[in-house]
Amino acid sequence: MKARVIVMLKSGVLDPQGEAIRHALGAMGFDRVEGVRQGKVIELDLAEDTTDPEIAEMCERLLANTVIESYRIERV
């Protein structure tokens, strides 16, 4: 089985990379972009019986820094 972990900066945390992307899009003429947030996607190949709490623990202990980031787990 596979799971996908999406890690994003928490709302309210300034995302300078997202801001830079927004600026670049604006400079290219995409003037309808009102905000950009950049995050990361981590795909996990897992043993079939891996549980949601196990994946959540991986996120809490390594994949996300919960001081500044939130995460979402999707089973693929």
Binding site: V13, P16, L62, V67, I68
Partner: protein
């Protein structure tokens, strides 16, 4: 009086840090990241700058889970002294030994230049040889130095006098201009600027020397 400098794959300030410790009188050992214990009788652990594990995932994130970091955490819990510089500061926040996190600089760019720092309270071993409020000049060299923490954590750090160093001219967006943070027992310091790069008159200043001298003084007095 013994120091250990932890070495990760991608550390690049480890030898400079060892030179600074030795110049201050510390018998200094290098400790590879796969070690599970520190050498006997270590007083101070240095976590050096660099790009541990290529900054993969987040700066310092993988290093913080290396076997040696458990030993470093145990050392800190026992009341041992720890100095994390640059990537070492990022590692200490990732281990949870220091609060907060270091994000990408607000200007996006990697910044490498000497900056003014205002010394915080002089009641820590790291700041003991400085005057509180004194301005010193120390180089920075980082991409992810933008210090952040929850508002209540920031307020507590400030109220407890744990901002060891603040930027005179904030280069990276850090909350409250924070350049260096102390643990609640003042024995663990993480800072983005590089005092070990300002510890020899031949190499761009000596304002960093007193940090190591202050630390050495802690043991001379004991």
């Amino acid at each position: 009086m013994k120091a250990a400098v932890v070495v990760f794959p991608g550390s690049n300030c480890d030898r400079d840090l060892a030179v600074a410790f030795r110049a201050a009188g510390f018998d200094t050992a290098m400790v590879w990241h796969k070690e599970t214990t520190l050498p006997d009788g270590i007083d101070v652990v240095g976590v050096p700058g660099g790009f541990s594990y290529g900054d993969y995932l987040r700066s310092g994130a993988i290093a913080a889970r290396a076997p040696v970091c458990r030993a470093v955490a145990d050392h800190a819990v026992r009341g041992g002294y720890v100095l994390g510089i640059c990537n070492g500061f990022q590692v200490l926040t990732e281990t949870g030994l220091l609060p907060g996190a270091l994000m990408r600089n607000t200007g996006i760019k990697y910044i490498c230049r000497t900056v003014p720092l205002v010394v915080g309270p002089a009641d820590s071993p790291f700041t003991a040889q400085y005057e509180a409020g004194e301005t010193i000049r120390i180089p920075i060299a980082h991409h992810d130095g933008n210090y952040t923490a929850a508002p209540d954590v920031l307020a507590r750090i400030r109220d407890e006098g744990r901002v060891a160093f603040a930027y005179g001219d904030n280069p990276n967006g850090s909350a409250h201009d924070i350049a260096g943070v102390l643990s609640d027992n003042r024995r663990v310091l993480g800072m983005m600027p590089h005092p070990e790069r300002a510890a020899d008159p031949a190499l761009g200043g000596t304002d960093g020397r007193r940090l190591f001298a202050g630390l050495a003084g802690e043991f001379a007095a004991a």
